[in-house]
Symmetry: C2
Subunit: 256 residues, 2 copies
């Protein structure tokens, strides 16, 4: 396990084919059929260009969840793009990420991901016309445009959610109608090429779901195993409307 | 939700008390009793000093999972400490985090968290005597010393796992006996003040578990709600021994 693995694209494809050939392919094909319209780039060995937008006050998990899944795919190329290059403060302040690119230097991408953030960060991005224009331009060339958590509000501000259903953090759901969108209680909602996830930890479900779209279900299942994603939440917590006392603590005691 | 909330420690405690007073405290006390030996610092309003170690090739999720939970606690003070201050590359390369402190400048902390990493990063840390000495020194003053994923191997290298059970990533389990430790299949394993979690996504379970130890179960449940942690893994994936074909893909196709 402590040996690095570096395999060329050709090797990977032949290895994958060999593996799929040696295992119970019938079972995989029936239970976990790869979506036939989605993974042709992967099958052709084309790199998947992925851009994760980051901004001051971003919720780190919203960005890192999909990153941690997608980065495991062979030939995924991931960049973190901010309004400017350089350090980005995350919600909670003590963690900084680095934006490797400024958005003005990103002119197209296959997969755009917009994470959520705290109130200050969201407000700033909702007021940033350069950002909105960039999102609209990038969206015109993506295969998938995605959000996690309150990132849906940023897609909405850019005008991409009109008439659509979208998932978002439960604390953000009342803002969706402002953008002509309807709140979906699903953990992940697909509306054409726009895919949105619920709050914070839904970032992981989204990341693995995107791996399936890009590379097929069997690869995505392997990513799930690599991330040891057999979750065991320490507590049983219902939906917010079932937990008014917890909602009070979230609103008035915890840090945003 | 887009209004920032800034409440003094005193206000928080009185709010918490008021909230707990108005809800079904009997139910909370029986179902979710806060561990009586663990949250006295929180009850006294003392800050909880938390140090997350980061190193080149760290698995971002291992560090961010606990951060995303712990940063929501009032009066948690979290720092990211590296061998040196400055940018840290994570597994997958395109994401960099910033270490706000060098380990030599951290002389004590209440809660130490050691995340896992890729083979190169682990090898480097296993060979770094300054790091081992620092871990042993810090551990002598912690309330909890914790690891996520292959971070357990780093606790082991520093000599902290002798005779103990520990959780780790399934790909790392065979290395534990080298350090006198025994692999535990639990998602989180507690051995005295040493707490270890399984791989990658177990970071979230660990983060919420630590919130419960610090601040009591009701606050931790609110953190779980704030993180919308009602996971819905896209696939059903068994333990590695039940999924040999997926293990092959993890070992030979996916990036480490």
């Amino acid at each position: 396990m402590i040996d690095n693995i570096d395999i060329s694209r050709r090797k990977i494809l032949s290895t994958t084919t060999a593996l799929l050939g040696t295992v119970a392919l019938g079972k995989i094909a029936t239970s976990y059929a790869a979506p036939s319209d989605s993974n042709d780039m992967f099958q052709k060995g084309m790199p998947m260009d992925i851009t994760i937008f980051v901004f001051d006050d971003v919720t780190a998990m919203d960005a890192i969840g999909p990153y941690e899944a997608l980065r495991r795919l062979p030939d995924a190329r991931i960049r973190f793009a901010g309004i400017s290059k350089g350090p980005i403060s995350t919600g909670g302040q003590s963690l900084q990420l680095i934006a490797t690119h400024a958005i003005r230097d990103v002119t197209r991408t296959d997969l755009l991901l917009i994470p959520g953030g705290g109130p200050d960060g969201l407000k700033a991005m909702m007021a940033n016309a350069e950002f909105h224009e960039w999102v609209r331009h990038i969206n015109s060339g993506t295969r998938w445009t995605t959000s996690v958590c309150s990132g849906a509000l940023l897609l909405g501000t850019a005008g991409l959610l009109k008439g659509l259903q979208a998932s978002t953090h439960w604390r953000s759901k009342n803002f969706l109608p402002k953008f002509g969108a309807t709140y979906s209680e699903q953990r992940i909602t697909t509306s054409g090429k726009i895919i949105s996830a619920a709050g914070v930890s839904a970032a992981i479900d989204m990341g693995i779901h995107l791996c399936a779209l890009i590379a097929g279900d069997q690869i995505a299942r392997a990513v799930q195993l690599a991330m040891e994603y057999r979750p065991k939440p320490p507590f049983t917590v219902g939906a917010p409307e079932q937990e008014p006392e917890l909602v009070n603590i979230v609103e008035h005691v915890l840090r945003t």
